[in-house]
Symmetry: C2
Subunit: 406 residues, 2 copies
């Protein structure tokens, strides 16, 4: 049970136990970027925004050693290390740090909380989205907040990087929704990206993925407390507790958690499973203890989450096609970076065939691309928990010299 708890913690960045920092851990702190007016991909605008970020290592004088790590759906910029007041280790601590695959002795590694981050109520997350106060009304935006796309995540990141004097990335690397951002970076701003790593990713949402993602939205949309997104007046005094459609939110997170995993890992975890559970056999209202476990974990993960933010994240993923135009090849043709795709072999959420399709499309278009599958029993989550198995590959890829076309 320890492994799964730490996996779930990594996913939600909430540790059940607020562990004190251990002597050897890298310490990291959160920064905040304050932005002014921002125009979204769909043409709509907001007057200001803010996002959190954190970094590791030093930016060199030429500002050419920066690696951007873009985060996944339920994640944040907490990639590695631990905050001074404790909490969980960052989700890719195994590969980001001094001497590690993404070597912070060599690279300046930065990660930025996305807009509409899943956890606006997490004290370690700074984001702007439907739960934020619209300065023009003094009320939460709710669904007045513009629909957000992966391109918008990228454009916010670009603004933050430019504020730090970074005009070009040694690499952009991301897992899952982070991989969408990484690829979008490389095709939207080809002259700013030298290397792109897509972990457990895809280049375009297909109808199957659209409909699968929608299963995460329906529980929220069907919850009467969602109230067409206008539940913020229900806000209570304890600002760390989210409000609104809690049942729908919990159900949504139950599904996200389960779909990110694989039968092998779940079944190994519950090797003491009693199929013919007495309580479940006698009483239609009773459930197997494993159901209670999943509900409980989802409730914990819902603590800092906002339902509208989840809806917006789902939408951003549903609308994704690299380059953000009708035709995928047209987008991919813009890429100049060398690409590395690392899907998880047993991924049930984003099947490896999706990454393979992106990789093969790039090769067909005459681009540099590599492909390797991550082995493991965790399914989609192997992109997080089994990433260390690809540490050498990653290190080598990042060290490869590039012949720039310009």
């Amino acid at each position: 049970m320890k492994l799964i708890n730490s996996v779930i913690s990594a996913l939600c960045l909430v540790s059940a136990l607020s562990l004190s920092a251990i002597a050897n851990d890298q310490l990291v702190s959160k920064q905040v970027y304050q932005g002014g007016a921002f125009t979204f991909f769909n043409g709509q605008q907001i007057d200001q925004f803010e996002v959190g970020w954190q970094s590791y290592g030093e930016l060199n004088e030429e500002a050419d050693n920066a690696i951007l790590i873009t985060h996944f759906f339920s994640g944040s910029s907490h990639v590695a290390g631990r905050y001074e007041d404790g909490g969980a280790l960052g989700y890719w601590d195994a590969i980001v740090g001094p001497g590690k695959a993404i070597d912070t002795d060599k690279y300046f590694v930065i990660s930025i909380d996305t807009l509409v981050n899943q956890e606006p109520h997490n004290p370690y997350v700074t984001t702007t989205g439907p739960a934020s106060i619209n300065p023009n009304t003094g009320q939460a935006y709710a669904l007045e907040f513009p629909v957000v796309t992966i391109r918008d995540f990228v454009n916010v990141q670009k603004e933050v990087l430019e504020s730090l004097g970074i005009e070009r990335l040694h690499a952009v690397i991301g897992a899952s929704m982070g991989s969408l951002q990484a690829l979008e970076w490389a095709v939207a701003y080809p002259d700013k990206v030298d290397r792109m790593v897509s972990v457990i990713g895809m280049a375009q949402t297909d109808p199957w993925t659209l409909l699968s993602l929608q299963q995460w939205a329906e529980p929220i949309l069907n919850d009467p407390n969602w109230d067409q997104g206008n539940y913020y007046s229900q806000r209570n005094d304890d600002e760390t507790t989210s409000v609104g459609p809690q049942a729908g939110l919990r159900q949504s997170i139950m599904q996200i958690s389960l779909q990110a995993m694989h039968p092998r890992a779940i079944n190994a975890m519950f090797s003491d499973f009693n199929t013919l559970d007495t309580a479940a056999l006698e009483d239609p209202l009773a459930v197997h203890p494993q159901v209670e476990w999943l509900r409980q974990r989802a409730s914990e993960r819902a603590r800092y989450a906002d339902a509208n933010h989840i809806l917006y994240l789902i939408r951003a993923n549903q609308l994704f096609i690299a380059g953000m135009q009708d035709n995928l090849d047209q987008g991919l043709a813009r890429l100049q970076a060398s690409a590395l795709f690392m899907p998880a072999k047993n991924d049930l959420l984003l099947h490896p065939s999706m990454a393979r399709h992106a990789h093969e499309s790039l090769l067909r278009l005459g681009k540099e691309s590599q492909y390797v599958e991550i082995e493991g029993d965790w399914g989609h989550l192997d992109g997080l928990v089994s990433i260390a198995t690809q540490a050498d590959r990653l290190k080598t890829f990042l060290a490869e010299k590039r012949q720039r076309s310009e």
Copy 2:
């Protein structure tokens, strides 16, 4: 779109168009069996019950040519042919009929609506469950109805068969939840079953499957109109329309539909998919047309369904272990029939590894067992729509002479 509509129709036994019978179709009619007191596996009792059944071919004088076909979660006893007043063809019409794999010139084929059938409001289904009137109170049972297991389905079927003079089955064959019943028949009543065919099945629910199935229950449990199962007072005058937690019911059926399919089939169906849908890009309340399509299909399928019945069906599957005791081998060791497992190669709901495990366990226990995978692009649904690819195998298996141990 035609194929998917017919697949969805087959699944729910509701045809969008009420087609008239075509000259060559087998005509079939529904019978009803009235039972008295029934004691469930968990020891609880009801005073009476009724279930529908239909049959094909003639029972011979020795009453030894009977084949029982046990139905899947969303199905009924409508296996083949068409009702005189129209409706859809039975789901396995491709393999059940005169001269077909399950040859009704040779065998007496019978199928029986299960207890707690998903569609108590379907005029072609007769079932007993939470939506039925408890004769002792004059009210619907709701959650007072005993928890039902796969063994209870089998025991009801046994009673119906005995009423027709059938003491022994040439074969019992079922897909998905039907395969659970087929296997349970063979281990609960080993001296009554000569051949057992498990299509897209398993021998025991594992923790992963338990939790996946629970995702179908949560939408109903979270719907305030579910009201702890006591929504029958909301019943309206139109008895063909189901009542209660309609939003939860629709969402549950959306998920069931999707999980039974495979990306290849869904993506082929929507080859005109526009990822960057304009409405979805502009308005958080808009959805891609494919989402609307899935919602619409689920609403149609919800028409005759009952939410509590779905909860009971989920529970029956969650509690399944062949033989209904703690240890699977102990159950499987009882089997005397020859077994044939036919999982679908691309099944994402019940992975072929589950059927393979059952098959290999039987071989280890010295039993006769065969294993073949159904190829196709439909995932779990290949057990229905691609079954004809295994017609010859099935025909041969049914014709094999058996040396009975007794």
